[in-house]
Amino acid sequence: MLALKDVGKTYPNGVHALERFSAEISPGEIIAIIGGSGCGKSTLLRAIAGLDRASTGSVSLDNAVITSPHAKIGIIFQEPRLLPWLSVADNIGFGLADLSAEVRRERVASALARVGLTDKAAAWPRELSGGQAQRVAIARALVPQPEVLLLDEPFSALDAFTRRDLQDHLLDLWADTRPTLILVTHDVDEAVVLADRVLVMRPRPGRLFEEITINLARPRDRKSELFDTFKRRVLTALDRSLDRSVRDVTDKSSAGEAMWW
């Protein structure tokens, strides 16, 4: 169980990025966090990853408080961030340095096969397309078998076709070990395709605005009417989150908020 309790973040330059964000996320759940720019999505994700410490509140995984990167928490960034001096195979095995060479080779080989890049094992990252590089990044994050995988707009730099392909692929990979997925996105379609729950955030300071449960069976048909209904619900929530005249749906104070507009 991943528990976020009143997580807040104020940066040293005074920017109040995130305010009292609370959520409980069960193992194997897929959560999409969506919201306008500056709503603290990435800040929240970095706090969960242990890359930045929350100013207030706490993040805990199975009752262990997270203050620095944790073995059970993996992250995939917006850009693949592959190490350019390592081959594709070595990039995937980067987090397995503690294992014996033989075990590492096996794991890397099966991960390569799983993301369909066996023939690229010896290639340099510069020789990959954007979609291939991001698949390597996904494999690298999944190979240590994290319990929680964080994704920070992982497909936003890709074209629509590749993005859709990778979304399906991600679900496929997720089904192997069913880690908790927390995905930050600004793509409503992506949120509804992937998530069990969509958390809509509102900006300045970033906080939870509305929570929408997507109880649609997988695989989800992007063209179905029900899919559209959920998309509309998320879109409506997003619009309302940006409308300052609407009070927070959650029970947080919004006193003085109108001053922003």
Binding site: A49, G74, P84, A97, P125, R126
Partner: protein, 280 residues
């Protein structure tokens, strides 16, 4: 989208490159030799036909002859070895000091604020200004010469290493953090490979300066070395000997630079620029 744009371009460049690969491998360096060879032959011809007596600017054949004579008498190897030793020792010292200081300043902000202003101030001094002091402190023999070369090599290495560490992509370092690398592992697995390309450039710049400073050092007062050959040629009015020394300097400089390039090429194969040049 990108594929459709790339493909025709690839086909165009790949086709002619594949067929006469051997030709281009030989022709590319040959093209670079064209201008000096034509100039040299031209001058040879001018002197041969009697348009110039070639006393102050001796023709290539005379220079070559001088080199052969020097080689035959054993003088050449003595001078070359003396110079090589000085450059080698000075370069090694400069590289070691520059790398250590640059790494400390780049990695540790406090050290940078403490040391960098002083190093930058010292860098502003023309290195040749140290010569009288070094001669007073270290004598006119080898030590002062090696010290001068080391000073010349130190600064580009220091700046290169510090700059390279400071400009390592924060996002790549974050990957190391996500995988919980320890301090030494972070240096070994992330920082060193990230810094290597810039370090190689610094080494090559440093080596170039090493060759520059060995001439200065040997002009101070030496009884052997290529710089001594230069000075000797000037004082005894032997321009062919001066040109011979210059040619040997050029060959040695190019050769040592090439050695660095070849030695590190396998480590830099991953670089985009390296691949684009069609090395391997």
């Amino acid at each position: 989208m990108a594929m459709t744009v790339d493909l025709p371009a690839l086909e165009q460049t790949a086709a002619p490159r594949a067929a006469p690969a051997r030709w281009s491998r030989l022709a590319r360096p040959a093209l670079g030799l064209l201008v000096p060879v034509v100039l040299a032959l031209g001058w040879e011809l001018v002197v041969y036909l009697g348009y110039s007596n070639g006393r102050l600017v001796p023709p290539p054949s005379k220079v070559f002859q001088t080199i052969v004579e020097l080689a035959r008498s054993g003088e050449l190897s003595r001078h070359v070895l003396a110079t090589l030793w000085r450059v080698g020792a000075g370069f090694a010292l400069g590289v070691i000091a520059g790398t250590i200081m640059g790494a400390i300043s780049g990695y540790w902000d406090f050290a940078k604020r403490l040391l960098d202003p002083t190093v930058q101030a010292l860098r502003a001094i023309p290195s040749l200004a140290w010569v009288p002091l070094f001669v007073l402190w270290l004598g006119i023999f080898e030590t002062s010469k090696v010290a001068l070369i080391a000073v010349g090599v130190f600064f580009p290495i220091y700046l290169g290493v510090m700059g390279a560490i400071l400009s390592v992509d924060r996002k790549i370092v974050e990957v190391g953090r996500v995988f919980r690398l320890s301090g030494p592992a972070m240096i070994r697995r992330i920082l060193l490979p990230a810094v290597l390309p810039a370090y190689v450039v610094a080494l090559r710049v440093g080596l170039g300066l090493g060759w520059m400073f060995v001439v200065a050092a040997e002009l101070i007062g030496a009884s052997e070395g290529l710089g001594y050959l230069l000075l000797d040629g000037q004082q005894l009015g032997k321009p062919a000997q001066i040109l011979a020394a210059i040619v040997i300097f050029a060959i040695l400089g190019k050769l040592t630079d090439w050695l660095i390039e070849v030695a590190v090429a396998p480590l830099l194969r991953w670089q985009d620029a390296f691949g684009a040049r069609g090395g391997a």
